[in-house]
């Protein structure tokens, strides 16, 4: 092993190897750029009817919530929330504002407990006409919702017209009102 060694030797074809490897890289990548895979999560549920569901009342003595309640000709805002969800508390004033503007809001309480829920509603106000309890996240999955809070505008035929991910911020109240108005037409 003590022969005179030339480290990486430059024979005629070898020097072209990097160029060829690189050309291959460019080809693969250019192909992929032209055919991008789907990465955007689109709300596939807009325009679709609400899935069939029937939820128990979230609080004793109140009404539950089912799909049948939602297709009576009236436009409603379906709000998925929970007492343990901090942005839901942040969202409460906006829901109250929407309620004051005449929007009927129905709630789905996610994995919540009656006592906690009652305390939450006492502290932040109750804009909901009905609250269903979704203790197993079934509705959340069925609606393709990724977290709490989320709101859906449901038209009079029970069709989903708009999905709002995250809490409704004060500057978004007009947007929601507009979506409700569109759903009424």
């Amino acid at each position: 092993m003590s022969t005179q060694n030339q480290p990486p030797k430059t024979s005629s074809w070898l020097v072209w190897l990097p160029v060829m490897v690189f050309a291959g890289f460019i080809a693969v990548v250019a192909y992929n750029l032209r055919n991008p895979a789907e990465r955007e999560v689109r709300s596939a549920l807009i325009g679709k009817p609400l899935p069939e569901f029937s939820l128990q009342a979230a609080q004793p003595g109140q009404q539950g919530l089912s799909r049948a309640d939602m297709a009576d000709g009236k436009v409603r805002l379906l709000n998925i929330f929970a007492s343990w969800c901090v942005p839901c508390a942040v969202e409460a004033p906006q829901l109250a504002e929407l309620r004051a503007q005449g929007v009927e809001i129905v709630g789905v309480a996610m994995r919540d407990r009656p006592d906690d829920l009652a305390a939450f509603l006492a502290r932040h106000g109750n804009p909901f006409s009905r609250i269903g309890a979704d203790n197993l996240s079934t509705i959340q999955f069925a609606l393709g919702s990724s977290g709490v809070p989320e709101s859906f505008v449901i038209d009079g035929k029970g069709v989903i017209r708009y999905q709002h991910i995250g809490e409704i911020r004060p500057d978004q109240v007009p947007l929601i009102l507009q979506k409700v108005k569109e759903a009424q037409q």
Binding site: S2, T10, P18, F22, V86, R169
Partner: protein, 647 residues
């Protein structure tokens, strides 16, 4: 108004880069061309103008000027000022402007100070640098204008990705960019040398500080990035083989190889073509990394610009620069003589081994990173993770560690193993002993080898200092010793983390105590807290190490509202011998809280090791720069004396 000024400065800088390209090109073709004299001044002014443009963008972010689309999209008036400031480069356009600014400044600095290269090579280097910069200018101006305006002006900005709201963000990307751009200078040097065929020790000495500097920044960037991912993502891991991590690791590996081969070229005038090749490869890896991240072609937490148009633009730049440089290399390589000869058992031989092994590791990681792309174009969806990367890179890294232990002890040109063998008895015994112990303890293969080799390397690294007076040891040698020690330290940390970590995933009630490793951790209470632009549930916990004094911990589950996103803020307790890592999860229905706890013995060594590697580089750089300055001063003295004698 100010935004327009920034855009104007950017256009001017781009125009000057074009002028630098034309004048440099003419001067390289016809030495003595009248435009030759303007190349250096133009490079300086170009650097200044692009800096002005960047500072204006920083200002726009700091005052939250929402008439600028970029600010409105990425900032928010309620954001803490540090994040407004750092938000400048926490987005695609701003980070590209930062990149171009660093590039311009580096070019200006090079034009100002570098005097030892033959002027023609220097002009060719500045020509290449202008060529590279021009591509990025056009990318900024035509495909990602940071100064684009909004009309009408929105009332409020759209925030910043909360994952990026961390002090680390203020420093992490710029650090990596300094590294990448330093490599762009090395690339320009390599192209310049290929154009003029002047490759030798002078060239290597001129190129070396840039490579060293870039390498230091990359080392710090990767180390910091790894720690950031470790505490911010809340998964308890420190390296995920994420495409973006690989994108920063690949240039680092190439730069490490380049660093070693440029040293051989500087002191022994050998490995000429190989050094040039690595110069091209190192920057190519930075560009490929940037492309992979920015085009959104690979899905990653870092991919903030999923935009095929931009992807196509960067790809075109990539094809022009790298393709061009590799072609030039192929055409010119045979005309550059190989340089001095040496035997296998010599310092050079060991460095060649190290280079080959580093390049092989680089190749393995590159294949792993690109394989999902290749598979996707063939219609299959795969992801490549640790089961591939860990063993495949270990195959090359383990022999490299052995070479690292032996190489520095070998003499230049010709040596024998018999001579260094005696010195390596101690590290070999330590390695063997640790191996025996670890096998006895039933450790897994990789942590076992890592721990044993790490301990052996720890001793072997300081052997080059043996028999020397420590006060007379030169800085670059200190640098090497400390950097190699750093590798050993980091390795021990990695092996220890992977072998000895204790993990607990539990649901506990308030007041409950959990035992994890030597720690007992108690959940005292949980309460809501509010920050400037987030709200959180915070757990108040106390932990005690083997029944000792109790330490408070406050892990949080944070909710940001602009844009809405949930993050976990882990809580850490650091001791000299490891870290306790706690993440607060969700509240279960029965009022119990999910907690995830880890005790990670000696995990911090990973990052201390990384910083030691960077410190080693810094010492070497200081040593080289100091001797360069001494040389310049001595030269000036001689010139001054001659001048006086001439009179």
């Amino acid at each position: 108004m100010i935004a327009n000024l920034g855009l104007a400065a950017l256009w001017f800088a781009a125009a000057l880069a074009f002028l630098q390209l034309v004048a440099g090109g003419l001067a390289v073709r016809n030495p003595g061309h009248p435009l030759q004299g303007i190349v250096r001044p133009v490079a300086v002014v170009q650097g200044l103008l692009v800096t002005v443009s960047f500072l204006i963008l920083v200002w726009l972010f700091c005052v939250t000027d929402l008439s600028v689309a970029l600010v409105a999209k990425n900032s928010h008036s309620a954001k803490p000022w540090l994040y407004k400031f750092a938000g400048t480069w926490g987005n695609h356009e701003g980070s590209m402007l930062l990149w171009v600014m660093v590039m311009g400044l580096a070019g200006a600095f090079l034009a100002l100070i570098e005097r030892r290269l033959p002027e023609r090579t220097m002009l060719a280097t500045l020509f290449a640098q202008a060529f590279v910069s021009l591509g990025f200018y056009s990318f900024l101006l035509f495909a990602s204008n940071p100064f684009a305006r909004n009309n009408p002006v929105p009332a409020e900005g759209m925030g910043l990705n909360p994952l990026l709201q961390d002090p680390g963000l203020a420093f992490h990307p710029p650090t990596l960019y300094f590294g990448y751009v330093g490599l762009s200078i090395a690339f320009s040097f390599a192209v310049g040398a290929l154009l003029t065929r002047e490759v030798g020790p002078t060239f290597a000495k001129a190129m070396r500080p840039w490579v060293l500097g870039a390498w230091i920044f990359l080392t710090i960037g990767i180390t910091a990035g790894s720690y950031w991912a470790y505490y911010e993502l809340g998964w308890g891991g420190w390296w995920f083989w994420d495409p973006v991590e690989n994108a920063s690791l690949m240039p680092w590996l190439a730069a490490t190889a380049l660093l070693h081969s440029v040293s051989v070229l500087a002191s022994r005038n050998a490995l000429r073509t190989w050094t040039i090749m690595l110069g091209v490869v190192a920057f190519s890896m930075s560009m490929v990394g940037t492309f992979l991240v920015r085009s959104g072609i690979l899905t990653s937490v870092h991919a903030f610009a999923v935009d095929p148009t931009r992807g196509a633009f960067i790809l075109a730049l990539l094809a022009i620069y790298i393709g061009g440089a590799l072609n030039l290399f192929a055409l010119r390589a045979s005309t550059i003589s190989e340089g001095e000869q040496f035997t296998v058992t010599s310092r050079e031989g060991a460095l060649v081994m190290n280079n080959v092994l580093l390049s092989a590791t680089l190749g393995v990681i590159l294949i792993g990173t690109l394989y999902p792309l290749l598979a996707e174009s063939l219609g299959a969806k795969v992801s490549v993770g640790p089961p591939y990367f860990n063993p495949m890179s270990a195959v090359f890294i383990i022999p490299m560690l052995v070479v690292m232990a032996i190489g520095p002890l070998l003499r230049w040109r010709r040596d024998s193993f018999a001579r260094v063998g005696k010195m390596l008895v101690l590290p070999a015994i330590v390695t063997a002993g640790a191996l025996a112990l670890a096998i006895g303890a039933g450790m897994k293969v990789l942590p076992l080898l890592g721990l044993a080799l790490g301990l052996g390397l720890l001793i072997a690294s300081v052997l080059p200092l043996r028999g020397r007076k420590l006060r007379t040891v030169k800085l670059p040698l200190w640098g090497m010793v400390i950097a190699h020690l750093g590798v050993a330290v980091a390795l021990i940390g990695m092996a220890s983390e992977s072998a000895f970590t204790r993990e607990k995933l539990v649901a506990v009630r308030l007041g409950d105590t959990v035992q994890v490793g030597p720690w007992s951790v108690k959940l005292d209470h949980v309460s809501p807290v509010a920050g400037p632009n987030w709200t959180a549930i915070e757990a108040n916990m106390s932990a005690s190490y083997e029944g000792g004094k109790r330490v408070e911990l406050h892990p949080q589950a944070r909710s940001f509202w602009s844009p809405p996103q949930e993050t976990n803020e882990s809580a850490l307790v650091t001791r000299w011998n490891g870290q306790l890592y706690v993440v607060l999860g969700e509240e279960a229905e029965d009022g119990r809280w999910q907690l995830r706890l880890w005790w990670k013995p000696f995990v911090t060594l990973i990052w201390y090791g990384g910083l030691m590697i960077a410190l080693g580089g810094l010492l070497a750089l200081l040593g080289r720069v100091a001797s360069d300055i001494r040389r310049i001063v001595a030269k000036d003295k001689i010139a001054y004396r001659r001048k006086r004698q001439g009179r």
